[in-house]
């Protein structure tokens, strides 16, 4: 299996895990939907957990790249980008196949703090906070890290309610709150 094939497998597994959940998805299904045998998968990933970790690494890169670029496209100033995050989120909530945040779900299914999947899920959120804090610092706010954490809470709350209600409205509701924090 070439590097391309391997990446394609991870990408395929991502789609299936995101749609079906982690524990609810068997490796047989991943193999079938990816057009390879289960044994081939286990040649590259020693366990299902390792495949999940690879999936989460891909998702982390993809999501941060998408979100940060979208924020840059939508606004020029650092403060404007922080506010524009919620417009980007609304686009995501409205997109076909939106099913909430993969890291929240991974953390919920693998709750043990010593589990690598649990730790890696929260690490994604920390990377988001880092970026928000950089922008908040550049925008001249007094306590950029505290503001970044507040924006993270708004973002995660909006994602959870949008996913549970199958309705993108929380994006703009969270934006209204963020506007007061950033104003």
């Amino acid at each position: 299996m070439s590097r391309n094939k391997r990446d394609e497998l991870i990408r395929n597994a991502l789609k299936i895990f995101y749609r079906n959940g982690f524990n609810a998805t068997g490796m047989d299904l991943v193999a079938k939907e990816s057009g390879v045998s289960k044994t081939s998968i286990y040649k590259h990933f020693r366990t299902k957990d390792e495949l999940i970790l690879a999936v989460l690494r891909l998702r982390d890169e993809d999501f941060r790249n998408w979100l940060f670029r979208r924020m840059e496209d939508l606004a020029d100033t650092p403060a404007g980008q922080l506010l524009a995050m919620f417009d980007a989120l609304e686009e995501w909530f409205e997109a076909d196949g939106f099913q909430g945040c993969m890291f929240i779900k991974a953390s919920a299914e693998f709750q043990n703090p010593s589990d690598a999947i649990n730790r890696q899920s929260y690490a994604h959120k920390e990377l988001l906070v880092d970026h928000f804090a950089r922008l908040a610092g550049a925008a001249g706010f007094d306590a950029p890290r505290a503001l970044a954490r507040e924006l993270l809470i708004l973002k995660e709350g909006a994602i959870v309610i949008a996913a549970m209600s199958h309705d993108p409205a929380p994006a703009m509701e969270a934006k209204a709150i963020a506007a007061r924090l950033l104003g």
Copy 2:
């Protein structure tokens, strides 16, 4: 199995599902930890999903009772109670065995909008909004429902980050935001 026994079974199943997750927990484990046979469980609940729905009904009652009473104990005015919600949340986050919100997790594991578990999970959040809106109305706010939705987003965001980070700090971070909305 008496009504008491049945309730005790549901309560037991709640603990196990909350600790282990829904899909990851087998009915054999529920039976063993509850001290009854699996067949006895299936005499009262036709499927595992029905048991989960009963668990969620119990959790909905327990959690709303606890939260609303705690809010009343901590503050006298409606606006004060809305703010005090975040103090109550902090107590919850600090409690032993805190593992996030059961309804968020249920919704994440049963994502199909036509699934009764999915619908019932969001129904719990709607009941919370109803209560917040009543308090916001009593406090004299202009758009009580909109404010209630914003508080819900703050609450869910705090829960998710507290659970993922294994740290109760998001309670006070969310409270700081709420103070601005309520001030």
